[in-house]
Symmetry: C2
Subunit: 261 residues, 2 copies
DNA sequence: CGTAATCAAATTGGATCCAATTTGGCAAGA
DNA sequence: TCTTGCCAAATTGGATCCAATTTGATTACG
């Protein structure tokens, strides 16, 4: 099964701003379904009907129907010709595709931020993210807790640049990708059995943050864009890990932030 | 009012592949609402409630609720903090933003198509599009009918390249932008009072198609990407036309293709 | 034995009903 | 007169009911 062994932390405070209008109930259904698709509880290609899902989640068909539409929009469900939805197969290729798209979109954001200039608050926010990272890596090693911290400021760093682009369409376009598991900045995975290797990897990623900021801060749009594009590949590690079998070794930990959009 | 005077042809055969699961009824509600938002019948910022809309469209609240969710996903409605939806203001800036995003996405598609190589059928399809255009412009002038033809093969040209990229995520990301009026390839506008000017403009656009194809066909990824990005600005004309008043002169005609996704 | 037709079961979409939450106004008291 | 509290109206989400469409299966006929 796909991503069966993943240990997704879906029980975290949401960091989104687009509060979809359903009350707690509908939200929970949507999030639960996303989770079930992501961890393979609903296998790819499986046909999902409203009634069984509704019974399984202990709600009526109405919130399930709404959720299905949303999940279709997000690309996690595909609609059959005549009736019924099927779980869309999320292959490593598709994740790689989504990451490539994220690369160009965030690259655009970085370029626009460079060209248009960033606000003072955004600038200091970015610098703060960089400092936090510097402090983290100056120790020479990383703990699990550090990974949480990294995950947090990494997300803020990226989001700040996207906002600084002052192009709403970028955020909109990204919000779709972010529903695909492991394609968004809001999820990082690391190998507990090779923390020194991971230290080097994330340190490199952090160094990229530094030079991206440098480019943006100096108005070097093309440089910022190219760097950010390349930086997106930092996440591409998943697909290397997953490889052809699409199974994840147990010693990997995934930090994910749930998304309510 | 926003885009009030636009003469959108929404009554055309749908060209989409993602058939959203609603029966005719729900489809109609969704399309009607899109139309009402696009042509300003529902002014930007206006609060839309379920009951009045349902009564106005002669259906129950259920299909309206579903449609609201979809429209929120598409970015045409924004959800209030506590309750209710409001029509999102679609400013020229937002359209320009969306077009910029489309540029980088289609640019990515063009690059990938170049790098991975296009299939023989796709290649001949592109060539066919180019020939059709050549025949059109060789006359030295354009009629209204020609515009329809142009619109048609222009869309096919772009879609073929997107498919040729073999990156599903691009199509997914674009499908959101395409709901914003005038941000997608499926809509073109032209000024009937200046058909010679329009001839030159669309001819230029068609020439861009030629060199984009040349780049792709020769595996020149970076060139194809840059050209396609620039080509996206061909549509940017709307925002120039609209200007600050956001009103469209009567002598403009818009060809739009309705989208059922 | 194969094919076609009809009927039943399942599934989905729409409408209506009910509950919960919010908003807004009106009134009472400081 | 201003503020506060309470109540009513409105709005939204969920559940259930009903109709329409589709699937599939069984049976009958060639």
């Amino acid at each position: 099964m796909l991503f069966k062994q993943f240990d997704l932390n879906y029980d975290r405070p949401a960091a989104t701003k687009t509060e979809t209008g359903m009350s707690k109930h509908g939200q929970r259904v949507l999030i639960t379904l996303r989770k079930m698709i992501a961890n393979g509880e609903l296998p790819p290609g499986e046909r999902v009907a409203e009634i069984p899902i509704a019974e399984r989640l202990g709600v009526s068909r109405t919130p399930v129907r709404i959720a299905f539409r949303t999940l279709e929009q997000e690309g996690l469900l595909r609609k059959g010709d005549r009736r019924g939805y099927t779980v869309r197969a999320i292959t490593p290729t598709e994740i790689a595709d989504a990451i490539e798209v994220r690369g160009v979109l965030e690259g655009l954001a970085a370029r626009l931020a460079s060209e248009r200039g960033i606000s003072l608050p955004a600038r200091s926010h970015l610098i703060e993210c960089l400092s936090t990272g510097d402090a983290l890596f100056s120790k020479g090693f990383l703990t699990d807790e550090d990974m949480e911290i990294y995950h947090d400021f990494n997300m803020r760093f990226h989001n700040t640049i996207i906002e600084a682009s002052r192009n709403i369409a970028i955020e909109d376009a990204l919000s779709r990708n972010d529903h695909l598991p492991f394609a968004s900045v809001s999820s990082i995975a690391f190998n507990r059995d090779d923390m020194t290797g991971e230290f080097r990897r994330f340190n490199f990623s952090h160094m990229q943050h530094h030079i991206i900021f440098d480019a943006i801060d100096n108005g070097q749009g093309a440089r910022a864009e190219a760097l950010m594009r390349e930086h997106a590949n930092a996440a591409l590690r998943y697909t290397q890990i997953l490889g052809p079998t699409q199974d994840m070794p147990d010693n990997f930990t995934v930090i994910e932030r749930e998304d309510t959009a």
